[in-house]
Symmetry: C2
DNA sequence: CAAAAGGTTCAGAAGCTTCTGAAAACGCTG
DNA sequence: CAGCGTTTTCAGAAGCTTCTGAACCTTTTG
C-alpha cells in the first residue's frame, strides 16, 4: 500500500500474480497471447483467486480473507473449513480466524447441514450487497469518527487574528463540509434500493 | 486494517488518539465535556493531525504520509522539510521519502521561493481535488487491472456442463458487469466538473 | 575551490500484522 | 461418561512495512 502512483509508462500495470503458490498449474495450458485458446477452468479459478486476494487489502480485508472470499464466490456449493484449508494451503487456525472475520463482516454466511456437524460457508454472491456491506462498515469506522472530531474542533480559531488559527479554522471547515456531504451521499445510497440506485446511475452515466 | 466489524456496542467507536506523541499538549487546556470552553488551537491541530494520520492507511496512504499531509493542510504557508521533521518528530529520511510520495500522488506541491535553496511544500487544499486524485490512482491501479483479468477469463466455462465451470462463469460474469459499471461511473465522475457533479448530487441527496 | 546547505539513498532496526501448529475446549453420540 | 470429530485459542515464528541515521551527492556561495 502507499507506493507512489505508477510512473512507469507500461500500459499493463502489473500482472495480478502475487504468490505463485507452488501448487502447480493444474492444467498445463500455456495461454498464448491471443484469447483463441481459452485458458482452462482451473487456471482461471486460480487467477481469479490470486487477483481478488491481491486487491483485498486495499478494500480493508486482508489477503487471505479475500482469497477465501474468492474461493467461496466461485464455489458452486458451500465449503467446509477443511476444504478451504486445503484449497488455499493455509493452516487450520488461519482458516478459522479469517472465516470468522468474513462472517463478522457479513460477506460470508455460515450454513449448517442437517445431520452434519461441520459448518459450511457460503459467500454472498451479490456483489452489490458485498459493496454495500463494506461501504457501511467503513462509513461507520472511518467517516463518522472523523466527522465527529471535525465537529468538535470546528469552532476553534474562528475569531482569532492569528493566521495559524485562521488556517486551521478554514481547513477544518472545508473538510467538514465535504465529509458531511459525502456522509449524506453514502447514507442515501446505502439505504436506497439497488434497482433504484442503478436506474438513476445508469441513466446519468451510461 | 481488517479487524472484523465493531461488535462492541460503544457508540463512540474510538477516540482518534493514536500515538500520544510525547510532545506534551502545548496548551494545558483540559477540554471539559461542554464545548463552552473551546479547546485551544494547538490542541485542535494535534487532534486533527492524529486523526488524519489514523485514517490515512485506509485511503491508501500510510500514516506518516497522512500526517504530513494534515500538517500541510493546516499550515497557513508553505513548510520546508526541516519544519515537517520537527513538527512531527520524524527523521530526515522519513520526511524526504514521504514528502516525495505525496508529491507523486499529486496531493502536495513543491514550491521554490526565489533566492531560497530550500524546497517548500504546500498541500492541495481543495478536498474534492484530493479525493479525485486518490480515486483516479486507485481506479488505475486496482479497478482496471481487475477488469482486465475478468475480461480474460470471462468466457471460461461458458459452455461446460461441470457445475464448477458454470459457477465460475456466472460469478465472473456478475462481477465483471458490476465492475464495468463502477468503472464507468468513476470515469464520468472524475471527468466531470466539480460544480456540475455537486449540483446533481446535492439535488439528489439533500 | 573549499565549505556550507540542502536533498537523496540505503542498510539495518524496530514495529506490526499475519500465520502456524499444537493444545484446549466443545458438543454430540454410543 | 468416554471417545470422536470438530472448532477455538494462543504463543511464538515468519514476513512485511516503515523508520532511522549516517553516508553520499549536488548546488550554491564566500
Amino acid at each position: 500500500m502507499a507506493q507512489p502512483p505508477s510512473k512507469d509508462s507500461a500500459p499493463t500495470p502489473d500482472p495480478l500474480q502475487d504468490q505463485p503458490e507452488d501448487q502447480p498449474d493444474a492444467t498445463g495450458s500455456d495461454r498464448p497471447g491471443q484469447p483463441l485458446v481459452a485458458p482452462d477452468v482451473a487456471d482461471a479459478r486460480q487467477r481469479f483467486i490470486e487477483g481478488w486476494g491481491h486487491y483485498g487489502p486495499t478494500w480493508g480485508v486482508n489477503r487471505t480473507m479475500a482469497q477465501i472470499h474468492a474461493l467461496l464466490l466461485l464455489a458452486p456449493e458451500p465449503l467446509d473449513a477443511e476444504q478451504v484449508m486445503s484449497a488455499l494451503n493455509i493452516s487450520r487456525g488461519n482458516a478459522n480466524m479469517n472465516l470468522r472475520a468474513l462472517v463478522d463482516w457479513g460477506l460470508v454466511g455460515k450454513q449448517l447441514k442437517l445431520g452434519e456437524r461441520r459448518e459450511f460457508f457460503v459467500a454472498e454472491k451479490d456483489i452489490w450487497q458485498v459493496t454495500k456491506r463494506i461501504a457501511r462498515e467503513r462509513r461507520k469506522r472511518e467517516l463518522q469518527p472523523m466527522l465527529e472530531l471535525l465537529g468538535e474542533i470546528k469552532e476553534v480559531g474562528a475569531d482569532s487574528p492569528d493566521p495559524h488559527a485562521q488556517a486551521l479554522h478554514q481547513s477544518v471547515g472545508r473538510i467538514r463540509r465535504f465529509a458531511g456531504a459525502a456522509d449524506k451521499v453514502l447514507d442515501s445510497v446505502l439505504r436506497a434500493d439497488e434497482t433504484w440506485f442503478f436506474k438513476i446511475f445508469m441513466r446519468l452515466f451510461k
